[in-house]
């Protein structure tokens, strides 16, 4: 009964067009952010930060980026890992070669911009090829970028093993090294990036992406330019993915080699987007949470239940149950977890009446 929008009248178009038109939604989101900033640091352990919260936030950001391209603009991409690598190595090289700019905010934005440029380049074929064929073309970008960072030694500063390590991480004089500080920094970045992404998808640029996704011929006839629209989606998507890649390298790994951003990473992010919900920013978070948390939960479950099992058996079971859950969710709701959430909200609005 609490979730009622009755009595909340909109008298201006501005009020009707805000991100969360329903008061309860606004309060809920503010409460979640406040809890993430104020309450989580009170009890969080190092394990919770480094293994759960930080990966969840960074991969959510990557999923938002990919969702813009796949979910909003309808261009399938398997090059996410490669674009993350571009962001990470671009940020690394800027910090290394221009020490005055070794500020996390600056190097991350630089990583994002470089990734956007590479995204535009690999987005060019999208004018001619569509669907599965485009997916294969973006796969080529993944392999090319893997090769590039393994072979061009300048990019990895000629380290013998090809693995790079970041030095001091700080932003505007704030030294960010404890897990709690990293978490808060990433949280701030992700919140801002999410607001930006939401603004883009609800404005005319987002409508142009969705128009191309839903019916490209009609979109062209009413005046959208397909190439410009698709490339803008590639650019914005790769920008977010590049920032996520730089964060993954700097704040999650600290030191990494090209393998950290291989094809498996691309698939992982794509699964997050599909399971979370194509064309939904909330879905990006839900998908990331599902993919990051479920294996950990499944792994810990036997211990909590007091069932004695060998570690090998536990890890086999983890894969089996995880796979089964993915199939279950896709059958129950092909539109992803975000759709389940909106159905639940719809039911809650009417509760206790059936319709």
């Amino acid at each position: 009964m609490l979730y009622r929008e009755a009595g909340q009248f909109k008298t201006t178009y501005g009020a009707d067009q805000q991100i969360f038109p329903i008061l309860q939604d606004r309060l809920f989101v503010l409460a979640v952010i406040a809890a993430a900033v104020l309450v989580v640091p009170l009890f969080a352990t190092q394990y919770l930060y480094t293994e759960i919260l930080i990966p969840f936030l960074i991969l959510s950001l990557a999923a938002i980026g990919l969702n813009i391209l796949v979910g909003y603009c309808g261009q399938v991409s398997l090059g996410t890992g490669g674009f993350m690598a571009v962001g990470a190595y671009a940020a690394y090289n800027l910090g290394l070669r221009v020490p005055e700019l070794n500020n996390l905010v600056i190097v991350f934005l630089f990583g994002g911009l470089m990734s956007a440029a590479v995204g535009i380049l690999f987005g060019l074929p999208s004018l001619r090829i569509k669907g599965f064929y485009l997916a294969v073309a973006t796969l080529a970008s993944q392999f090319f970028l893997d090769w590039l960072f393994a072979r061009v030694k300048w990019l990895t500063n000629y380290t013998p093993s090809g693995s790079v390590a970041v030095g001091e991480t700080s932003a505007f004089g704030w030294k960010i090294d404890t897990p709690a500080e990293r978490y808060l920094f990433i949280l701030a970045f992700v919140v801002v990036a999410t607001v930006v992404a939401k603004n883009l998808v609800r404005g005319h640029i987002g409508r142009s992406w969705m128009a191309i996704r839903d019916m490209d011929i009609a979109a062209e006839i009413i005046g959208f330019r397909p190439l410009r629209t698709k490339l803008s989606a590639f650019a914005v998507s790769s920008f977010f993915i590049g920032i996520a890649g730089a964060m993954w390298g700097f704040l999650r790994l600290g030191s990494w080699e090209p393998l950290a951003f291989d094809i498996n990473r691309s698939f992982q992010i794509l699964f997050m987007v599909i399971i979370g919900g194509l064309g939904s920013l909330l879905g990006s978070f839900l998908g990331a949470a599902f993919i990051v948390l479920t294996p950990i939960l499944l792994n810990q479950m036997p211990g909590w239940l007091g069932v004695g099992m060998s570690t090998a058996l536990i890890s086999h079971l983890e894969f089996m149950v995880f796979g089964a859950m993915i199939i279950f969710f896709l059958i129950v709701e092909p539109h992803g977890l975000a759709r389940l959430w909106s159905i639940a909200k719809e039911k809650l609005r009417l509760w206790p009446f059936p319709h």
Binding site: T12, Y13, G14, Q17, V196, N199, L200, R202, G203, H204, I205, R207, S208, M210, A211, R213, D214, M215, I217, A218, A219, E220, I221, I222, G223, F224, R225, S232, V236, G279
Partner: protein
């Protein structure tokens, strides 16, 4: 009851248009004009080349021969976004809405050529971007009121019944405030009430906004009632052109529709 109106200014003229796909001649040597402010109908049996004609006018097909003169500028072919920028909007025979978007968003896309703010302001959604969004929303709400679709404003169009989808598609075309509106079978598959509504909208658009309309329609009752002039195509050739009453009495047209013994 039938309005007789006269028009002087030619808005669009097609001259000797020929279009073929491989060996199939879709259009051969077609010429006709559309006067500013009129309702012009294109009729003809299935496969006569009516939709191909509209596709040439708004630049989706490029005719091999002939020229299109629009607002005094003569071109051998149009390009789609050029046509859109020049004020030509259209609807499609089989609905071409953006199914994943709401009615409101679909109609908003019709105003895309007027929305100019760049990525930066869009990302922040303040200042010019927010003002622009509200200003265009106001224009779109007028169209929503005009077409009486307030109740489905936020419904994804994929969930709407056919007749309403047709209406939303008309709304999207109107949102561009076109000078020339091309309607490809706006009443196909509709029941009598829906057809009456659609006729009313077409006439109102023509009267209130002064929009020139070129429509393809199979319902002869509708065509003869609402159009000022009719052009008849058969097998890619023009077999008749004139006021509805002339067309009704044209022997070639009657033969095309009813068949003729050879």
């Amino acid at each position: 009851m039938k309005r007789t109106r006269s028009f002087n200014e030619v808005l669009l003229a097609v001259e000797n248009i020929s279009l073929s796909f491989g060996g199939v001649k879709a259009l051969s040597d077609i010429s006709f004009d559309i006067a500013k402010g009129e309702i012009r109908a294109i009729i003809g049996p299935n496969g006569a080349g009516k939709s191909s004609m509209l596709n040439c006018i708004n630049g989706f097909y490029h005719p091999q021969q002939g020229a299109i003169t629009y607002k005094g500028v003569r071109r051998s072919q149009m390009r789609p976004h050029e046509a859109a920028e020049q004020g030509i909007a259209r609807t499609f025979q089989n609905i071409a809405l953006f199914r994943g978007m709401s009615t409101l968003d679909n109609i908003m896309t019709g105003r895309n050529l007027r929305m100019k703010t760049g990525l930066f302001w869009q990302a922040l959604h303040v200042g010019p971007a927010a003002r622009e969004e509200i200003e265009h929303r106001r224009a779109v709400e007028k169209i929503i009121d005009f077409l009486e679709i307030q109740h489905i404003r936020k419904v994804p169009v994929g969930q709407l019944p056919y007749g309403l989808q047709k209406r939303v598609e008309l709304g999207r075309a109107l949102a561009a405030q076109p000078e020339l509106l091309l309607l490809d079978e706006p009443m196909a598959g509709m029941n009598i009430e829906e057809k009456q509504d659609m006729c009313r909208f077409v006439l109102d658009v023509n009267d209130e906004f002064g929009t020139t309309i070129c429509l393809i329609e199979h319902d002869m009752g509708v065509v003869m009632d609402i159009s000022d002039r009719v052009v008849v195509l058969d097998y890619g050739k023009k077999i008749g052109d004139g006021a509805p009453d002339e067309i009704k009495g044209n022997q070639a047209v009657i033969d095309a529709y009813l068949g003729v013994s050879h």
